[in-house]
């Protein structure tokens, strides 16, 4: 089995191999279902097209240098940054079959983004992300440093510990998105962590929250190419990572639980070596819930109302985290992440589970909000979201209950699908799986 850490050894050699392999095989399996291909209609936005571009950008270059002179910065900006890095192209990529383990397409595009950022090519809007994180530890517009503190206060009221005061092994990492929208009525994401707190408090385990000390995981900066510091007023992925690791080390944390697949992927994959050194394990709440259910530590009862649901698989959870677990040789991780939510939903009385035909699990279509697309190309992101929401709605139509809802496990997807549904004129609700499980816990005898 190819080890995942082979990646950073000589990434450019791996990139070139993968690009070459694509241009020789040229199968194009990545084109048709690519959300950006559907949006822009040109192959240069798909993995095959981008890899062809990279071949020319790398022409005659040995190291991490790009041959930018022949390309228009505007085109490059759009072609490389208008992408959700959803990883459908990784999943379907036959040519990178073995390099899929060594270097995946999405990793290649992240590397290229980082190089473009170094060369000053990036969407202007992304600067706000860097500034937001620098100023108030949160990339979201309008977010305040106190958001996380307020969320923590509420969670402590629900039985969680204060990681700063009480010595805890595990923390619930709230995440910037959930914190920013904790009080929102349009996007009531606070319920996700409240449900998470309810679930975690119901078992005999002390789980803490970080409160205002909680940094951003830096995932969004890694995705958008702001890896190293380019400007004293901007944060960078490396800065986020250092701050987070310092905090985790100081508080002697051993396990991070998060309901945000973006944070989970970032900690598990992008912080892999550092986390291993500190002996910290990252789990997404879905993995945790499935584990608790499998052990019999929690049991689920009837959902208060009969409801038809379908599950939208977040890209970061399925094609990134589950894939990563697979590369680690942890098949159980895949089972938990992909099959887990379905098992949970099917196990709850009063919940009727419907599966989207074909495009579920590893094949799930992206909601459109990943990797900075929603920030820099909001219109396009929303179109992607509308396409996915329509697909989910179609699936729900076949259900028997009057009450119908989309369930997901990611605050980003949650926001995007809610917005998309509203735009489509639908009144269907979007829940996080933690909310559903939280409700079902009450029904348990």
């Amino acid at each position: 089995m190819i080890e995942a850490e082979a990646v950073t050894e000589d990434i450019w050699a791996e990139v070139d191999k993968s690009v070459e392999s694509c241009s020789l095989t040229h199968c194009g399996f990545c084109t048709f279902e690519c959300p950006m291909y559907k949006e822009f209609g040109f192959e240069s936005y798909t993995s095959r097209g981008k890899k062809l571009l990279i071949k020319n950008l790398r022409k005659g270059r040995d190291e991490d240098i790009l041959n930018l002179s022949e390309f228009s910065p505007n085109d490059l900006e759009k072609e490389f940054f208008a992408c959700t890095l959803c990883g459908y192209c990784d999943f379907i990529c036959a040519p990178s079959s073995d390099s899929q383990a060594a270097v995946r397409n999405t990793q290649i595009f992240e590397e290229i983004r980082a190089l473009l950022v170094e060369n000053g090519i990036f969407p202007e809007e992304d600067v706000e992300l860097c500034k937001g994180i620098k100023n108030h530890f949160n990339p979201w517009k309008g977010a305040r440093r106190t958001d996380k503190k307020n969320v923590a206060k509420e969670l402590i009221g629900l039985g969680m510990k204060d990681a700063e005061k009480d010595s805890v092994n595990s923390i619930l990492y709230v995440g910037c998105t959930t914190a920013s929208f904790a009080k929102s009525t349009d996007f009531p994401l606070g319920n996700i962590v409240k449900s998470a707190a309810k679930i975690l408090s119901s078992v005999d385990q002390d789980v803490g929250v970080l409160g205002k000390e909680e940094m951003c995981c830096g995932g969004i900066l890694k995705r958008t190419g702001f890896v190293t510091a380019h400007n004293p007023h901007w944060s960078s992925f490396e800065e986020c990572m250092t701050k987070n690791l310092d905090l985790f080390e100081r508080l002697e944390i051993q396990e991070i639980i998060t309901a945000c697949p973006g944070c989970a992927k970032t900690f598990a994959e992008d912080y892999k070596d550092e986390m291993e050194d500190l002996g910290i394990k990252t789990v997404h709440l879905v993995e945790k819930m499935v584990e608790l259910l499998d052990e019999g530590t929690i049991s689920l009862g009837e959902f208060p109302i009969p409801m038809t649901v379908t599950f939208h698989d977040p890209c970061h959870l399925v094609r990134h985290l589950a894939r990563f677990r697979q590369l680690e040789g942890n098949e159980y991780g895949v089972e938990k992440v992909v099959e887990g939510p379905r098992k949970v939903l099917k196990a709850i009385p009063n919940i009727e589970f419907m599966e989207v035909p074909i495009y579920h699990g590893f094949r799930s279509h992206c909601c459109g909000s990943g990797a900075g697309l929603n920030n820099a190309f909001h219109e396009n992101a929303l179109n992607v979201g509308k396409r996915r929401a329509a697909e989910l709605e179609d699936c729900l139509e076949k259900g028997n209950h009057e009450e119908k809802a989309i369930v997901t496990a990611c605050p980003f997807c949650n926001i995007m699908l809610r917005e998309a549904l509203r735009q489509l004129g639908s009144e269907k609700n979007v829940y996080d799986i933690a909310e559903i499980v939280g409700e079902a816990l009450d029904g348990a005898v």
Binding site: S21, H26, C27, F29, F32, E43, A94, S97, D98
Partner: protein, 471 residues
């Protein structure tokens, strides 16, 4: 590079584009999934017309068992929509996730299920095309394949490679999906024996759904790194499948196995478990690797216990350094052994490494085949030149052995200047037909008929030998 790329959403827009192009004599190159193996989708100037926006299913007529689609829909996408209702269109090129219905018609692509379901002519009832004059015409016979009225112009469109018209819509037959499928891969002592197995099966009333005869080199491609392909020296792999009701499928599988054994054949690993695994590897590579589980009949097995991953295949890995280059021809079955020897000799002559041979049975209940004689081609100019010399010799061989030089990739730019060897005087008639559909030669100039593109200043394709261009 094309000067402009257009992505029309429907026939009307295609008509407008072609009218403008025809008025100004601008060449129009039609492109779909971009999987051409003969340069058919390459546009060097003019308009590149991308059909992939025309990807809607217009009608699924369950009563009459037909489907009407826009030509830009990929085959797999169509089947994903049909599977919910229990139907499929059994056209199965390996590139089915990318290749479109229009491409399948325009190239007469191979199908791995050809020996039961045939190529696209068995499925195409009618299609709508936009000719080089910008006329929209319906060719074929509405929703039936049976007619003796008029000329069957839709058959002319099959493998016309976009030189007569741009296919915009098509009505195809659909059939119920079989309830189950079984497959096996065995080995036979010679090519002749392999072909005899198929003839004998037909004599006994056993009709496989797919048959593939392939040499060891090719078979290695359809395995995973680390797995062994246990074929005896001089033996060939024979892979086959049956689908339908379980009782019929099991019986057919057993009889087919007996027929092969009677002719000196045996399982790949003498009945060991590896034999089943090798069969699955071969099947997965060719059929299911890109398919969603809904289109598959059986989940892949044995991969995890061998520490292998479904996407870790030899096929793309072996193309890491050199690309797959094939002479894809058709031969009468009696001539295959002779051609196989010539294949090795010619590859050696031009210093090209063997990628292997694959014989696909393509016509329902018949032994008419499409053969791929493949070599590995590196990026050096010398190797590329050598490949085209190899290709030319193999193409000439196909004609000499009473076959055809292109069985599935079309002529494209690769055999466009060579096919006069095959068609002789008939080629003039072909050019006359072309002039009727496309008087200004704006549709895919340079493809299929090579030098006719010259008047538009198209550079001769690099692989046309210089003497051919001047001739």
């Amino acid at each position: 590079m094309p000067d402009i790329i257009v992505q029309p959403p429907d026939t009307e827009d295609v008509k407008k584009i072609v009218e403008i192009a025809n008025n100004h004599k601008i060449p129009v190159f039609t492109r779909a999934g971009g999987t051409s193996m003969a340069g058919g989708s390459v546009a060097r100037k003019g308009i590149l017309l991308d059909t992939r926006k025309m990807n809607r299913i217009l009608e699924i007529d369950e009563e009459n068992l037909t489907v009407t689609v826009q030509a830009g829909i990929p085959i797999q996408t169509l089947n994903e929509a049909l599977v919910e209702r229990g139907y499929w269109v059994p056209l199965d090129p390996e590139s089915k996730a990318t290749t479109t219905i229009g491409t399948n018609i325009a190239l007469r692509s191979d199908s791995t299920f050809g020996i039961r379901y045939g190529k696209v002519e068995q499925w195409l009832c009618s299609c709508e095309i936009v000719t080089g004059k910008g006329d929209i015409i319906d060719v074929g016979h509405n929703k039936t394949l049976i007619s003796s009225s008029g000329y069957h112009l839709h058959w002319l469109i099959i493998s016309s490679e976009g030189t007569l018209g741009i296919i915009t819509e098509a009505t195809l037959r659909i059939i119920p999906r079989p309830p189950m499928r079984m497959w096996a891969l065995m080995q036979v002592p010679s090519l002749e024996k392999g072909v005899q197995c198929v003839i004998e099966a037909h004599r006994r009333g056993i009709f496989p759904e797919s048959v593939n005869i392939l040499d060891k080199e090719r078979l290695i491609n359809y395995s995973h790194p680390g797995s062994t392909v246990d074929i005896r020296r001089g033996h060939f792999g024979i892979g086959y499948s049956f689908s339908g009701e379980e009782v019929i499928v099991s019986c057919s599988m057993q009889k087919m196995g007996e027929i092969i054994q009677d002719r000196g054949g045996r399982s790949l690993a003498e009945g060991r478990k590896d034999s089943i695994l090798a069969s699955n590897d071969w099947w997965d590579h060719k059929h299911v690797v890109v398919e969603p589980p809904e289109l598959q009949y059986e989940s892949r097995n044995g991969l995890e216990e061998r520490g292998l991953k479904e996407f870790e295949q030899n096929w793309p890995i072996l193309q890491r350094k050199k690309r797959f280059g094939a002479a894809g021809m058709s031969l009468p079955i009696g001539r295959i052994p002779e051609a196989y020897q010539y294949f090795h000799k010619t590859a050696k002559k031009y210093n090209l490494e063997i990628f292997g041979m694959n014989v696909y049975f393509q016509l329902p209940n018949a032994t008419h085949v499409s053969i791929s004689f493949a070599v590995k081609v590196g990026d050096s100019q010398e190797e590329v030149d050598n490949f085209y010399k190899y290709h030319r010799e193999m193409s000439e061989l196909a004609v000499r052995l009473e076959g055809s030089m292109s069985a599935y990739p079309g002529d494209g730019e690769v055999t466009s200047s060579l096919n006069k060897i095959e068609h002789k005087e008939a080629r003039e008639y072909m050019c006359d037909i072309k002039r009727i559909f496309d008087p200004n030669n704006i549709l895919n100039p340079g493809k299929k008929f090579g030098e006719t593109g010259k008047e538009y200043g198209l550079e001769p394709s690099p692989w046309i030998p210089p003497e051919e261009v001047t001739a």
